[in-house]
């Protein structure tokens, strides 16, 4: 009897000891930031687990960042000036008509397995990127290349007809279908990086999505870092590449990317020194951080537009006067101040007003009187006879607040009734793509050229959810703007196109995006820029600096 009891207590003691030992480990040690600063390892919050590391599979910013560390394009982006710098190509020539680009590959540029990078690697990779079987969502970015679209849609089978040629081992010639001053910008995107053909073919067919070539033990890249560890949903670790041609300029010994989907958790991890830099910052934390002395809070404009897309094909918003009335009756300053804590920039156009060298057309102003007049002209004086209107948005606290604010503004300023419809993300995407909505929330991220925003409104464009169509606009954008060789001439047409667009008001602009994040004072060389891009080649860690005490 006693024996059993002793067994019981022993078991209990054993179990408790097990819990204590396995849970406590060996006590809390140094933080990531302290160790990282000593060893040159940067710890980055990076939104979500990347869907993969194959440049022809992934589409998101978070994955793009990791790829930017593992690969290098023909040209790379200078994080301060945003201008192209030599990457794999040490220099390049552009023909006077702007159609032919000749890239001279740097003889020192090699793959992480030591093999030299050749022009034919690019030809092979872009064939994979465009191949109809690959299913690359970013294939359209390469459609500026002559015959690329025809090959991608299966109209031609011979890749030899596409404007990409390896003239010599180290000379790549690209022929475009029209002059495209931003072609070099597109070459900075991860979808145009070269891949190592033999590595991919070793693990499957050229167009295979399901292969193992992106695993750390198989991975071959050409960037300043190499893939060391990929622990799904935990972290991705990259280390400094010993073969990268410009390795003397790389200061970090490694980077760890953490997929953290909840921004509140990310903020807490930053506070206890587990991260050097967050991906974002929860809205409601902005007031506290912006008043903190020596704050780690950083913010900068970001090339994205938040707007309400209006169904141009359905009553009552098929009437331009109704659309304009709705646009004029929104007090954007108030939304930016009260809901977004002044962290966004009120918008009065489609293109964010901070693209270098581009001047948007003159903005309209918040004008409730004029809005009421326009609505009366359209046949709804003071909202009489108004058939009702529904705002559709996807589940998110900020979207909901903005929708409620706009509902109130339209009711107060125009006397019209508005209903709100909240939808789960995928349902919402389908609703909008099928144009089965009246007014819907939209966000669009572009690049450093205005057509990346204006293209949304081309007749029959894949992303034209508003139903807007104007041959004059298409002509300005495609024929006039698309054929201009110089940036000045092109941007002049773009400005005219945007003016035309805003006169028809197919969408209701609300605000331009900003980047907002927390950055540890030890981080240098990672300036915030309008493209949210990071060039980890330039990142540095300065030990000895600490967060302000008031952060705890």
């Amino acid at each position: 009897m006693k024996h059993t009891y002793r067994k019981c207590t022993h078991l209990l003691a054993g179990v408790s000891a097990l819990i204590v030992v396995s849970l406590v480990g060996c006590g809390v040690g140094e933080s990531n930031v302290v160790i990282g600063n000593r060893e040159g390892i940067l710890h980055l919050g990076n939104a979500s687990e990347p869907t993969g590391l194959d440049p022809h599979v992934v589409t998101t910013t978070d994955a793009s960042r990791i790829l930017g560390a593992l690969f290098e394009g023909l040209v790379t982006r200078n994080p301060w000036t945003l201008e192209p710098e030599p990457g794999v190509a040490e220099r390049w020539e552009i023909s006077t008509d702007g159609l032919i680009y000749t890239f001279h590959i740097n003889p020192k540029a090699v793959w992480s397995n030591g093999e030299p990078i050749t022009a034919s690697d690019y030809v092979w990779t872009w064939k994979r990127a465009l191949h109809p079987k690959t299913g690359n969502r970013n294939a359209y970015l390469l459609y500026v290349i002559d015959n690329a679209e025809a090959f991608a849609t299966g109209a031609i089978d011979d890749f030899g007809e596409v404007g990409v040629k390896a003239l010599e081992e180290a000379i790549l010639q690209v022929t475009l279908r029209g002059p495209t001053p931003h072609f070099l910008v597109q070459l900075m995107h991860h979808s145009s990086y070269a891949l190592h053909p033999e590595t991919i073919l070793k693990h499957g067919e050229m167009t295979d999505r399901f292969t193992q070539w992106t695993r750390p033990e198989n991975f071959v890249g050409n960037g300043p870092f190499i893939l060391e560890e990929w622990a799904m949903n935990r972290y991705i670790k990259v280390g400094k590449s010993p073969t990268y041609w410009d390795r003397d300029k790389v200061s970090l010994n490694g980077v760890v990317f953490y997929p953290i989907e909840d921004d509140n958790i990310e903020e807490r991890m930053f506070r206890v020194d587990q991260l050097h830099r967050t991906f974002t910052l929860p809205l409601d934390k902005i007031p506290a951080y912006s008043t903190m002395p020596d704050t780690p809070f950083r913010t900068a404009p970001y090339l994205g537009s938040y707007f309400y897309v209006v169904n141009n094909l359905r009553a009552p918003t098929d009437d331009v006067r109704v659309r304009k009335a709705l646009a004029l009756a929104v007090d954007r300053e108030k939304i930016a101040r009260t809901i977004m804590y002044d962290s966004v920039i009120p918008a009065y156009g489609v293109v964010p007003p901070f693209i270098p060298h581009y001047t948007p057309p003159a903005p309209f102003a918040f004008n409730p009187e004029r809005a009421r007049e326009l609505l009366a002209e359209a046949g709804y004086p003071d909202g009489e006879g108004w058939p009702g209107l529904e705002i559709t948005y996807n589940t998110s606290e900020a979207h909901r607040k903005i929708a409620i604010a706009i509902q109130q503004m339209w009711k107060k300023n125009l006397g019209v009734e508005i209903t709100l419809a909240n939808q789960e993300w995928k349902v919402y995407v389908e609703t909008v793509n099928q144009k089965d909505y009246q007014v819907a929330r939209m966000g669009w991220i572009g690049d450093v050229y205005p057509s990346s925003f204006l293209e949304l409104f081309l007749t029959d464009g894949g992303n034209n959810d508003s139903g807007y169509s104007d041959p004059r606009f298409d002509d300005l954008l495609i024929s006039k703007g698309g054929q201009s060789v110089t940036r000045e001439e092109r941007y002049r047409y773009m400005q005219q196109a945007e003016a035309l667009l805003m006169d028809a008001m197919p969408i209701i602009p609300i605000y331009s995006y900003t980047t907002r994040l927390l950055q540890h004072p030890s981080v240098e060389g990672m300036p915030l820029n309008v493209t949210q891009s990071i060039n980890l080649k330039y990142a540095e860690l300065v030990p000895g600096r600490t967060l302000p005490d008031s952060i705890r």
């Binding site: 009897m1 059993t4 396995s22 809390v28 040690g29 109809p132 622990a231 939209m442």
Partner: protein, 311 residues
């Protein structure tokens, strides 16, 4: 006993088949698909993607193809994470979620069991009211509140414990285990108190006391065995529930377990992943229910006799 086991196992086959079928057709009926994103997918790209995942076949053919793969243990490739199979993702998440669930259950048993037994020994006194009130608070407090509270106190203010991760920093397993375990500890406390109260008023306990046994022997050797039957019955479903329901805790503490994949799969319309996790978890639930029935039968002499009689 064997007959009982076999019949229960056979019963579970149609249950799981129904789960597979219902899930398969329900996820297809949901609006929006795995390839729908804000940026429209070009028609030629969509065609290629659908062909790669066999979505271009008629639905019933897809269903039978899936069943065929399933019987061979192949859950297919993930839609969201091409290059990884659902089997691989489950295999990477399961050990972590199971470890978390195991610690949580241990905490629940040790803390909850002790509190429940002590409360039952002196019912309607302070020794009863205090732990039972705490248990009520524990049941009512959701983990999305308790987790951040613990993080704030132990992680940020006291700087004692790491606030996120699993097996990356020393001590990072404590807070998630406590958070997940506390709600279950509260249930265990209430169940063990009720069970003990009933047993302690039985005649055989009075006999044990009359024999002059010390009180701790009466409690531990005689009363506990009967008193924890409700707890044992609760354990099987509880463990399965821990595996399937650890999503909140896994999110709060950045733990790469199954729960996060399960919930994200639904948002992503990752058809194979939703099916894979559902099938896997329902199998586990069936299995753990069976296990707790067997354990309860073994602990309860009357039920045990029934099985022996039926042999």
């Amino acid at each position: 006993m064997l007959k009982f086991l076999i019949s229960r196992l056979l019963q579970s086959v149609p249950v799981i088949l129904i789960v597979v079928t219902a899930t398969f057709f329900l996820v297809r009926a949901a609006p929006g698909g795995p390839f729908d994103e804000e940026k429209a997918v070009l028609p030629e790209v969509r065609k290629a993607l659908e062909a790669q995942y066999k979505l271009d076949l008629p639905l019933h053919e897809q269903y039978f193809a899936y069943l065929g793969d399933l019987f061979q243990g192949d859950l297919g490739p993930s839609f969201k994470y091409p290059g990884r199979s659902v089997n691989e993702i489950l295999a990477s998440g399961l050990p972590i979620t199971a470890e978390l669930g195991f610690y949580a259950l241990l905490i629940a048993l040790v803390i909850g069991g002790t509190a429940g037994v002590f409360a039952a020994l002196k019912p309607n006194t302070k020794q009863d009211y205090i732990p039972m009130t705490l248990a009520m608070v524990g049941i009512c407090m959701p983990s999305f509140l308790l987790g951040p509270l613990l993080v704030l106190v132990f992680g940020i203010y006291l700087e004692l414990l790491p606030i996120a991760g699993w097996g990356m920093l020393p001590g990072d397993k404590i807070l998630p285990s406590v958070t997940l375990g506390s709600a279950y500890a509260a249930y265990v406390a209430r169940l063990s108190r009720a069970g003990m109260l009933e047993v302690l008023s039985q005649d055989y306990i009075r006999t044990a006391r009359a024999k002059g046994l010390p009180e701790w022997q009466v409690v531990v050797r005689h009363a506990l065995r009967g008193g924890i039957i409700p707890v044992v019955a609760f354990l099987g479903p509880a463990f399965a529930g821990l595996l399937a329901g650890s999503f909140v805790v896994e999110t709060i503490f950045q733990i790469p377990g199954l729960g996060r994949f399960y919930v994200q799969a639904a948002f992503n319309r990752d058809y194979t992943m939703i099916l894979g996790t559902t099938v896997f978890l329902s199998t586990l639930i069936v299995f753990f229910n069976l296990l707790s029935d067997v354990a309860a039968a073994w602990l309860n002499p009357r039920l045990r006799a029934q099985f022996q009689g039926g042999k």
